[in-house]
């Protein structure tokens, strides 16, 4: 039986459009209004968003990328409820918190406590909770020695730390974040990354808008590319990043968009989907030990890879395979139903089945990719091969540096002085 999807979506955005109307000459005073009541200046219409639709599952980290003016910040503001969409519908489940700017409401004349209170309330924390968490917030920001200092006497880095600390202490189920990652020194950035990993472990949903493709690849399960207010592509962060870079480096944008669509529908020998399509891999995913579909797996824990296949033609001896790769495209692990000695029956058109591989997650922290494929056993014809169709993030407290963390034991034996022959001359 095919396991159900992990949850209802956290965010559903359907057909959202937004047009800004900027008057040619802006009337800023009542006087002008009164003196020229019937004088109408023309408007310039600027379509910031055109029919954007997507849905984000609970616990998913979703990146929104695009060049300046592509509409990504407008989209975030509409999701946050700061702007009103002209058309379309947005639904969310869970408490929402928006971080378009760090430290909203901060006032330089006040000390840390007041600012934490104001900022916390702005972000949706009741005052009592904001005060209760004050010590944790200060500790996380490493500002214990500066609590009584007015904020204007803080360095920029300290202010950022305080603001970020408030942000991570606000309990929200859905976080909307607008490029706040590029702040702080290296040590603090590491702390931010740790927080993001913690948030994903806690099952938070995150949308984040950025230029930084590195961050998208590192954190996001999926990403969306916006250009001129239109959504060009939704998919794996890596592919989206690729197209984003192509957009940035001057290739004709529509051509790139079309290329993306073509690649999606027809397949590009190595990188894209490939096969006769005598059967189709409909879906592939990772599950954790408890059988929950998740993109996050802890190192050392058990996990299962599954692929869902529908046959369109009769296939006598299907062979299901999977290759797991790391971010550097190094194959880490490969297996197939034949290799495992699993009997697969002959399939008729319309048959559906799920092939699963369970293993212990031993790979180093980072993203792993799975390429599922399906071969007709007799002829070795590829029915469907979907490179890097799904991915998972391996998390661990400690990254030993090796590609695989093989279960091992270590021993330390101290040799007594007498046992060590010391050569003396």
């Amino acid at each position: 039986m095919r396991p159900s999807r992990s949850a209802a979506p956290a965010v559903v955005c359907e057909g959202v459009s937004k047009t800004f109307r900027t008057p040619h000459e802006r009337r800023h005073t009542l006087k002008e209004r009164v003196l020229h009541p019937w004088h109408r200046s023309g408007y310039t219409r600027f379509e910031a968003l055109k029919d954007v639709s997507f849905r984000i599952d609970r616990g998913e980290f979703f990146g929104i990328v695009g060049r300046n003016g592509s509409g990504k910040s407008t989209l975030l503001k509409i999701l946050a409820g700061i702007y009103r969409a002209d058309s379309g519908e947005i639904r969310m489940s869970g408490r929402l918190s928006t971080f378009i700017e760090l430290g909203v409401g901060f006032n330089g004349e006040l000390a840390a406590r007041d600012n934490v209170l104001i900022n916390g309330i702005m972000l949706g924390l009741p005052p009592r909770e904001a005060l209760q968490r004050f010590d944790q917030i200060i500790e996380f920001a490493e500002l214990e020695d500066f609590v009584d200092l007015k904020l204007k006497n803080y360095s920029t880095g300290m202010q950022v730390r305080l603001a970020f600390s408030v942000m991570v202490h606000v309990d929200a189920d859905i976080l909307l974040i607008d490029e706040v990652l590029a702040v702080g020194d290296a040590a603090f950035q590491q702390k931010c990354f740790d927080v993001f990993h913690r948030l994903r472990d806690e099952g938070k949903t995150m949308l984040f808008v950025t230029h930084d493709m590195g961050a998208v690849a590192r954190f996001c399960d999926r990403a969306m590319l916006l250009e001129n207010g239109e959504q060009r592509l939704i998919g794996e962060p890596e592919r989206v990043g690729q197209h984003y870079l192509e957009l940035n480096f001057g290739r004709d944008s529509t051509a790139v968009g079309q290329a993306a669509e073509t690649a999606e529908s027809q397949g590009d020998a190595i990188v894209e989907r490939f096969g006769s399509r005598g059967a189709e891999i409909l879906d592939a995913w990772f599950e954790d030990e408890d059988g929950r579909r998740t993109p996050h797996i802890s190192q050392g824990a058990g996990c299962t890879f599954r692929m869902h296949v529908r046959f369109k033609t009769s296939v006598a001896r299907p062979n299901f395979s999977v290759v797991v790769e790391n971010e550097e495209h190094t194959p880490l692990f490969a297996t197939s139903s034949w290799d495992c000695g699993v009997e697969t029956r002959a399939q008729e058109p319309g048959d559906e089945c799920v092939f699963s591989v369970s293993f212990t997650m031993l790979f180093r922290p980072g993203r792993i990719w799975a390429t599922p494929w399906l071969v007709e056993g007799e002829s070795n014809d590829v029915l469907d091969r979907r490179p890097r169709m799904c991915s998972a993030i391996v998390s661990a407290v400690h990254d030993s540096g090796g590609v695989v963390n093989i279960p091992h034991t270590a021993e330390y034996t101290r040799l007594t002085a007498s046992a060590v022959p010391i050569a003396k001359s």
């Binding site: 005073t29 409820g81 700061i82 639904r91 378009i100």
Partner: protein, 284 residues
Amino acid sequence: MSATADVQSPSVQVTGPSALGGDFKRFVYLSVTLAATDFKLRFFGSALGYFWQLMRPLLLFGVLYFVFTEFVKVGSAVTFYPVVLLSNILLFTFFMDGTGAVSSVVDREGLVRKIQFPRMAIPVSTVLMAAMNLTLNSAVILVFALASGVRPQVGWLEIPVLLGLLTLLTLGLAMLLSAAYVRYRDVRPIWEVALQLLFYATPVIYALETIDVSGTIRQLLALNPLAMILQQFRHAVIDPSAPSAAEMAGGAAYLAVPLGIIAAAIAVGYWYFNRAAPRIAEEL
């Protein structure tokens, strides 16, 4: 699956910003916090913060008192003139501070453009801060009034009603003006002139029954909602022998006019602010 059975499908629709929409508690927290912060900043910003806050109306009082008892003998005909003058000034200061919300929404651009919250919290917080100020200052009037020989009386029960009416009027105008200022930047200078006009059209420094004007004009002046509130405050709180607002207006029925103006101010203010709220972030 059981682990996720409790997850509901997305049920909350995001409709965009509004005047009051969303969590009412959050609206209250925000209004109070914004007001308290401003209050703190004004009072603790300098060592003598509160002192100066109080000095402003007191100095105005000193000047006016000196002028209107020594040179223009307006005050001599009024019983408890110093107390009446001081309380009038403090009530009018509340009205002035509260309607000073005219630029509040624009001044808080940083919040409006960055975060979703009930927009109404902004003008409300300004009026709230003016109210905190009035509360502190009323301690001064109380001491001053008792020292001058004013005695507690039944009329003091009218204080909450009168202050309530004044707050409604102030809040209505604060909403109207702050939303209008986002679009029309000359609203502020216009309002400043209007405030000057109101200061003299309202019996703040003089008593309505003592001025030398025709009965019609006197009655018209009494129909100003601020005049009604100040007149009744004087009658009920300070000096029962002074004419009540109804007497000045020419009968209790005429009070429908100032009360109607207050109702209109709050209704139009709310309607206009509510209508403007969704677009404020875009128009700033």
